[in-house]
Amino acid sequence: MGNQIRYSVEPEDFYYMDVNVPCQAACPAATNIPAYIRALFEGRYDGSYSINHMANILPGVLGRVCSRPCEDKCRHGEPELGRPVNICHIKRAAADLRRKAPPPEPGPLASLGKKVAVAGAGPAGLAAAHDLCTLGVAVTLYEAFEKGGGMLRYGIPEFRLPREVLEEEIDYIAATGAILKTGVRVGIDVPIEDLLREHDAVLLAAGCYRSLRLDLPGEDLPGVYPGLEFMMQVCAGKPPSIGNRVLVVGAGFTAFDCARSALRLGAEDVTICLRRTEEDLAVTKDEAIETKTEGVKIASLMLSRKILGKERVEGVEFVRTRPGEKRGEGKREVVAIEESEFVLPADCVIVATGQRPEPIRLTVGKKGEEVLKADPDSFSSSMKGLYVAGDYLTGPSTVIQAVGMGRRAAEKIIRDLTGKPFREKTVRMEETEITDRKRAWDYVARQEMPTVQPVPERFRIPRTEVETGLSPEQAQEESKRCYLCYLHYEIDIGRCIYCRYCIDVAPRDCIKLVKEVKTNEAGAITGFTETTHWAEVNAIVIDNSRCIRCGECMRVCPVNCITVTKVELTERTAQEGKDHV
């Protein structure tokens, strides 16, 4: 065969990847999504899992709880093409169906002779620790709680993320050589200055564990719980008493987890109260539907003003709101409606409106604390050798963002410690065969995640995982839906005879009669000037941003002038200079 393989680090090729493999571009960890979907299609569950693992060290976890920024950008979800591929659940299927791998060899690469301390064994810290270990650094991972996992263990309930899945993936990371010290609070039990002395670098990935308050009268009444603390108590197995009527104020994952957990603790009347509408939720649509299916009510357009009660909370006073103008690309303003006060009774109120990082004391005994500020691109703080990553750096984000940040922080640390980059991103290009995907697969319906039914079954044993996982058949069916956007179809204009058979069979406006090709500064193609006047046509061009990789053009071309190249955004060890192989 001998297909030629090229690697490129040119800006126009990175631009191409951004536009043409939108799922990978949207993933904060830049997971090679088409590749792992293809691997699963071929039945290579282990391979699929490994491909994920290269970018994201917690595939089993993320396959359950990821916020799926990739699916929002999936090309199959474009308006006329149907619904996005169920990428997250395919990832989970690979994790569920693979053979359990033997534990890895500790620190496979030769030791670099460097030591790094990581504070926080959450997703960011774990990702950084894993990468540092595999690159030959001696890592000590400090964790304030009893066990590792951070939010994954203490913020997300078991019915969304079974602990066995989490533990298996944490154990794998520990097996790469990171020394895990639990029950140690950095900055309190161990001063940061000590760590800085004993290690070549210190990475703070302590997450956000301070709940934000609403600062309302009555917020300190018994029966009012901050969302995060409520979840932590539930996850630790020591839930507080909540009574029957629960109001949850908040619109994020924590609020929804609190509401669903409240049902499992026996509350019969649970309502999530939103300032805006269901259109503005931070959770996925599937999550919202599942929550409502379980019996949680969602009330919208109401702003809490007062928490009422004497010995204990008895209710909440709200005012109605109106959605105002949008703030740039962000959410709409919330405008209270005059004279619209009303009261909802409650036995328990959970305030889940966000978190912020716990400030870390820099010197023992020093008066005043400050939250460390750091540069989000270099992860460096004002103190030499002290780095920050994850929610602790950015404020509350998502698990996958934390994982991505952890890895990038590790790379930055290595670069600073050794003076050289270790890994670099590159675009790998390989000539390949035409897709074997059939056009009929584009019409396969999205395979939905099966859940435990009927709903009361879920509450019998409250820890029961609600989503039961795609079966091998469902996963395979779903994997067929991926267009495999990493294939690049190109017409060789030197050989094209302008017969336009390709345009006749094109499923949409993906092949164009082009007068001019527009490029940006880097030289990447950004658009086309099309024409209907034959005399002005300079080329027939496949617009890869519209192409759904069906392969029909290639099948019908009488002069075989269409080539297919597999283009993947991947990593390799950093190359000397800027040449490509």
Binding site: E80, K438, R439, A440, D442, Y443, D504, V505, A506, P507, R508, D509, C550, E552, R555, V556
Partner: protein, 586 residues
């Protein structure tokens, strides 16, 4: 009252497979037991780029004419189909592609051009064909799949027809086409499950009485073959070319030949030559070609040589409108050419008669030793009907030449004046029966002679001979109660079907109206026609020509002026037009 009377149009752009789909639809519905009358229209230019429309009328009874209202429109190209929406009946069904490759501006989709009572059924034909077969070419068949679901036609009929049609093109093509049809069927079964659908009462599946779908052209060609034709001489001209093409393929197997001549003059010359030598031959042409033949046709009249000429009329004059229908060659057929040259002209009114009259024309030509012109028209030549063709009987194939008696050996007079006017004809080369034949006026022996006596005698003889053909020619047929009528409609050619439908409608409404079908244009049965006219207060003659050529021919038989209804639109005459006109005369 007909239980089923469904008109379906498929409209597309050339390249969409519109005509092919129409053909498959006709065959499939025919297999389902329905009668068929179908007529396609497509661009005139060779390899033309333009609109194609198939128009098929299906029913449980025989149909006489095309209907003016369409009950089902299958749109393969919305832009072209917009021209067909004014003809949609109330609550018509429109089947269209609801997933074009890109977004379209308001007004581009057919959905923008239909009345609210029209029932729209959208299906993604292109996508379905692509998904099923990998190519979009089968989208016309995916559409037929949808049609089958909507009207409850068993898909097996379609599949059988598709299999038959594409078998010759190979496994791969056949498979792709069947898959496209199936994909359309499956999609529609699911998508239209909940929708209210029209009810189509298909006849009980029974043994079909050996009727086949056949066009007028094909009927003519088959009749000629069944008459024992061995030689065809012709020149291609729309709409007669398919006759030539059919015979080109079929004659060699029967030991015959089709010869393409350099022009129509040579063609008729060869036909006359062949018949002169005792062998049946035929040519088919249209108006412009027929005009070229006229001198030699009169030669046939003068030399009393048989010939069979099919004149498939089209829009004239001159090159006119090659792919449009008209009935404006009557005068040319009956009178065209120099001198008093009476010949036989017969005009079929439907596809079955195309067969019968062509078959008959060889015998008539032989017996009456004259050119026989079979006058068809574009509509008749190209339309498809479901008819029973059982082939020619012995009697129908019989040689009707009158050969000379042994007693005239050595004293044979080719043009002897007889009571019937028919002079026994020797085939050249028959020993003892030498004769002259010429286009000059001649004596009984055949020698050229210009005397006033001879010319008067011979002219009279020839005309008497032709008049005698009335015995063998089909008499006009009356469609009435037999009683006195307010209006009598006389029509010929394909217009008769429209006239009959109009007349039947008026009869159902209680009006005193009748129709007379004229098939023998020359000689015509004056007595019968006059008798019919006497029973009618008004006579209405609808025809597709400007002045009223039949009215000019036989109108004088009526006591007063006949009412003319003339149209030169290039389209078949609408029954409603005739119906409305009849009503004004009552």
């Amino acid at each position: 009252m007909a239980k089923v009377d469904l008109t379906i149009e498929i409209c597309g752009m050339s390249g969409d497979g519109t005509i092919a789909a129409g053909g498959i639809l006709n065959e499939a519905m025919s297999r389902a037991g329905l009668s068929v009358l179908a007529f396609d229209s497509y661009p005139a230019e060779i390899r033309g780029f333009g609109r194609c429309v198939t128009h098929s009328r299906f029913g449980d009874q025989e149909m006489q004419a095309l209907s003016e209202k369409t009950h089902v429109l299958i749109s393969l190209d919305d832009k072209e189909s917009q021209s067909r929406t004014p003809f949609l009946a109330k609550n018509a069904v429109v089947l269209f592609d609801n997933k074009p490759p890109s977004y379209v501006e308001e007004g581009t989709s057919i959905a923008a051009h239909v009345e609210p009572d029209v029932r729209l059924f959208g299906m993604p034909f292109t996508d379905l064909a692509a998904a099923a077969s990998g190519s979009t070419r089968g989208r016309n068949l995916a559409a037929l799949g949808g049609f089958a679901v909507i009207f409850g036609v068993p898909p097996a009929h379609f599949r059988e027809v598709i299999a038959k049609k594409f078998k010759a093109k190979g496994e791969k093509v056949l498979d792709a086409n069947l898959k496209s049809f199936d994909a359309g069927y499956r999609y529609a079964s699911e998508a239209f499950k909940e929708r209210e659908r029209p009810v189509l009462l298909l006849p009980e599946p029974g043994k079909d009485e050996e009727r086949i779908l056949i066009s007028g052209n094909e009927a003519v060609a088959r009749a000629a073959l069944d008459a024992g034709l061995k030689l065809y001489f012709g020149y291609p001209i729309t709409p007669a070319t398919p006759i030539m093409e059919y015979l080109a393929k079929a004659l060699p197997a029967k030991g015959g030949r089709m010869v393409q001549m350099e022009d129509e003059i040579a063609s008729i010359g060869a036909v006359l030559g062949s018949f002169f030598a005792g062998k049946r031959a035929m040519t088919a042409t249209s108006g412009p070609g027929f005009a070229l033949m006229t001198e030699l046709i009169t030669h046939g009249v003068m030399s009393e040589t048989p010939a069979v000429i099919i004149n498939a009329q089209r829009g004239g004059p001159a090159t006119g409108m090659p792919s449009k229908t008209e009935q404006s060659d009557l005068q040319a057929a009956v009178f065209g050419g120099p001198g008093d040259s009476a010949r036989i002209v017969i005009a079929p009114t439907n596809v079955r008669e195309c067969y019968e009259f062509t078959l008959m024309s060889f015998q008539l030509a032989e017996r009456y030793q004259t050119p026989v012109i079979v006058l068809t028209d574009f509509f008749l030549n190209n339309r498809v009907e479901k008819v029973k063709i059982v082939g020619a009987s012995e009697a129908q194939r019989e040689d009707w030449n009158l050969y000379p008696d042994e007693s005239s050996r050595g004293q044979y007079e080719r043009y002897r004046v007889t009571e019937s006017g028919i002079s026994p004809r020797a085939i050249p080369g028959t020993e003892g029966f030498l004769f002259d034949a010429t286009g000059l006026e001649h004596t009984e022996k055949g020698r050229p002679d210009y005397s006033s006596e001879i010319h008067s005698k011979m002219t009279e003889k020839r005309h008497r001979k032709i008049r005698g053909a009335l015995n063998d020619l089909p008499e006009p047929v009356e469609f009435s109660s037999g009683e006195a009528m307010d209006v009598g409609v006389i029509a010929w050619g394909s217009t008769f079907g429209s006239a009959l439908e109009a007349v039947l409608r008026t009869q159902q409404e209680g009006m005193k109206v009748g129709a007379l079908k004229m098939m023998s244009l020359f000689p015509y049965h004056a007595e019968a026609i006059r008798a019919f006219m006497k029973k009618c207060k008004e006579i209405l003659i609808p025809e597709l020509n400007y002045e009223g050529q039949l009215a000019n021919l036989v109108g004088h038989l009526h006591g007063k002026d006949v009412v003319r209804l003339n149209r030169t639109t290039g389209m078949p005459m609408s029954p409603t037009l005739i119906y409305e006109r009849i009503k004004t005369l009552i």
